[in-house]
Symmetry: C2
Subunit: 322 residues, 2 copies
């Protein structure tokens, strides 16, 4: 039986991925239904409804202007209409790079989806800047899943000649990479703000990768070392530490002395940084477990970002207690 | 019994490391003799002998101008005078990033030293751009050795607050990382020459790291996966793919269409690129073992560099045969 695909979200990243999955369902009629419902948060653009523009012009003129969407992407303003009810055998995949937190610690977005819908949820993470994906530049991505059959089906949905998807049987590791790399990017931005050279920045990125691994191994079950060699690991970490808003705002934090809130207002139109938020929550977890000594880089980044520590302490790390 | 240190070479990198080991032998009189002989290829600079300038001004004005050498670094123009004969228990450490080749394949520089002197030889590799090390910018380095006692002693010689040395019991893996990263940097430079974005470059760096691992595992015994997480692995790879002459010349190769020889003449004053040389030799080995299919990135880089293949084929890799 063919699978019906519903895409929830239609921002920059959602629209870029719509171009790939829309083409793929057209080419695999024995596997997927052709038409894909895309839930769109309804808003007016130049006096017209965004859903109407997408369904007639086949372009998300607000969030991904300049790139056509396939005609089988159908914009739907009501979420329940879009997903048409969960059928037997339904599965989810989260493309959200971030994590949530509650009083007990890390809450994975995929777990929120799993718990709310009572279905399996995979994740797709990697070095995937949305506009570059939309432009058809070659990149790779990692599909983290706990069920190989789900992985194989979802790979068919996402893989393309310019979007090379590898399956990793490690959904938690893949998802945590997508969140923790933003903390390391804050550290990389501090280095740039201090005008440090390539040796130092490479050392911070490397130490960051080591602490990402250690954090995942310590607080999640079943995380695999190989995951950090996938696109979601080292590749996404590199892109984020050389490009990306977290790096950029952290550089400005050191150079201008402005607060994070001021920087978010002036540089990001008030949007919130993921890296500082995650840094704060990671630090809360480390404090609760009395484990700050074991994560000297994460701890130094937090103290510089939120406790007024000198940015230069980023390279004055105490050796980690094993 | 204290150990006498002899430094063979006094270029940019040799002079930078002299600053660290000169300070360390002063601070560890129970372990090392204070004075270090540094073999200097004798030449005239402004009418004076370079050794005489170093021994009076304590500065290598030709290869590391602007940085003082410790006064216990003694320039010696004759190599045999400098090393004063090999005593019982002597050990070597190679800081040369590169490999040699003969008709049977890869020849490690450390093996040439081992065979010629009949002593153990460790290696020191990492994200260590010489001028940044001389400036005292924080960085890390990896000491690859086969004997933990040698590793501990050599770590005392090289480690410093701004030069953090970790020991890896994997001399071949560490040394091969230092050579193979230059091949990947050629590929990263091709991406830059094609004006590809961050996603693509990160994917090429990641695929390069995977092929570096695979090449080491296939052709050397005892190489460890952890080595690629050390400074000599991922950190040096990152620095080399974002800075460095191999990346720069490969970018120009795509943009200008000039030959490697022309680029070496115009951009490097006639010095030879390590990356293209290593690419050629790696390709010879892969052909001899009928293993090109297993290394699609290394093979694509070689074909672009030497067989006139379109640079765009860097992202049109066939999946590796396992």
């Amino acid at each position: 039986m063919t699978k019906k695909v519903c895409l929830v979200g239609s921002g920059n990243w959602g629209s870029a991925i719509a171009r790939i999955i829309g083409a793929n369902t057209q080419q695999l009629p024995e596997v997927f239904e052709r038409d894909i419902n895309m839930w769109v948060f309804e808003e007016e653009v130049n006096g017209r409804k965004l859903t109407e523009i997408i369904n007639t012009e086949h372009e998300n003129v607000k969030y991904l202007p300049g790139y056509k969407l396939p005609e089988n992407i159908i914009a739907v303003p009501d979420l329940l209409d879009a997903e048409q009810g969960l059928k037997e055998g339904a599965m989810a995949v989260s493309l959200i790079k971030g994590i949530d937190f509650d009083k007990n610690g890390v809450v994975l977005i995929s777990n929120i989806i799993r718990d709310a819908l009572n279905i399996d949820c995979s994740v797709l993470m990697g070095a995937n800047v949305a506009n570059e994906v939309a432009a058809g530049d070659f990149c790779e991505s990692t599909l983290g899943c706990s069920d190989l059959r789900h992985g194989a089906l979802l790979r068919d949905l996402f893989n393309a000649p310019t979007f090379s998807v590898e399956v990793a049987l490690d959904p938690h590791g893949v998802e945590m990479c997508g969140a923790l790399k933003n903390v390391v990017a804050i550290g990389a931005g501090f280095c740039d703000g201090l005008n440090y050279g390539g040796n130092t920045k490479a050392a911070i990125i490397r130490l960051g990768l080591i602490e990402m691994k250690k954090f995942c191994f310590k607080y999640f079950d079943g995380v695999k070392e190989d995951t950090f060699f996938e696109s979601c690991g080292i590749a996404d970490l590199i892109t984020t530490c050389f490009g990306g808003r977290n790096r950029k705002c952290a550089e400005a934090f050191v150079k201008t002395g402005q607060s994070w809130e001021e920087l978010e207002n002036t540089m990001l139109n008030g949007q919130k940084l993921q890296g500082t938020l995650t840094s704060k929550e990671v630090s809360t977890i480390l404090k609760a477990h009395n484990a700050e000594d074991q994560f000297p880089l994460f701890t130094a980044i937090y103290r510089i970002a939120f406790e007024g520590a000198d940015p230069k302490t980023i390279t004055q790390l105490q050796p980690a207690q094993q």
